[in-house]
């Protein structure tokens, strides 16, 4: 691991939304929770439940906007920047974040394969192509921001 090629304060960082650790932690938690809530509520949604439909829509909106903001924040810069723009601590943090993201993706696929089938039997619904599509959207959006989320949660608030 080398630090020679690091160039601090590269202008490219300023293209990203600067979030403080506390804000990034809150935003990532809300976004991921909203995406999961959207997916789980939608599994059991019927046409008559207008109140729940509104809640499902709200969850989707919060989740998607939150994920997009997280994707555009500085933590995602660290997650996706070329190695030459990061120092050794940032590279070590990123390695750890991607390892955790990989674990999350594997668990998500396992939950998607076994968990959805189990829930379908428990709550008596069909695993339709629409449910599978929703699951892929949930997986895509949450896995997309997982490295940035983990980097934010590993960062420290300095007051």
């Amino acid at each position: 691991m080398t630090t020679d090629t690091h160039e601090p304060n590269k202008p490219s960082r300023f293209k990203y939304i600067l979030l403080k650790p506390r804000s990034a932690k809150a935003l990532s938690a809300v976004s991921i929770a909203a995406m999961w809530l959207w997916f789980l509520l939608k599994l059991h949604l019927t046409d008559e439940q207008t109140g729940v439909q509104a809640l499902v829509g709200l969850c989707a909106l919060i989740g998607l906007i939150g994920c997009i903001v997280m994707f555009l924040c500085t933590y995602n810069f660290v997650a996706n920047a070329p190695a030459s723009q990061l120092d050794e601590r940032e590279l070590a943090d990123r390695n750890a974040a991607y390892f955790k993201a990989y674990q999350y993706a594997v668990i998500l696929l396992l939950v998607g394969y076994l968990g959805t089938d189990f829930l379908a039997r428990l709550f008596d619904f069909q695993v339709t192509p629409s449910v599978t599509q929703n699951f892929f959207l949930l997986g895509f959006m949450t896995v997309l921001i997982t490295p940035a989320t983990i980097l934010a949660w590993r960062d420290e608030d300095l007051g």
Binding site: T2, T3, H6, D87, E88, R89, E156
Partner: protein, 87 residues
Amino acid sequence: MVANQIAVFRTERGISRKDLAALVSVNPQTIGFLERGTYSPSVELALKLADVFRVPVEALFSLQPFPALADQLSAAQSNARGVSHDD
């Protein structure tokens, strides 16, 4: 975790975190992580930091916690008194 005296040396030399970071080619945040002891540097970075302060690396880093600055001063004063009595 490796203990270090980066903050002590940096303050003594009047170098800002940003300047020190530039001297050793890291992000200024990394200096903060090092000073708080939440990140242990690579051998390369430890040697670069020791080189900036022109001290041996073991004066800057240790596997044991460094004594508090007040204790170090007190010990140094006691030693100085001991030397002057001997003279």
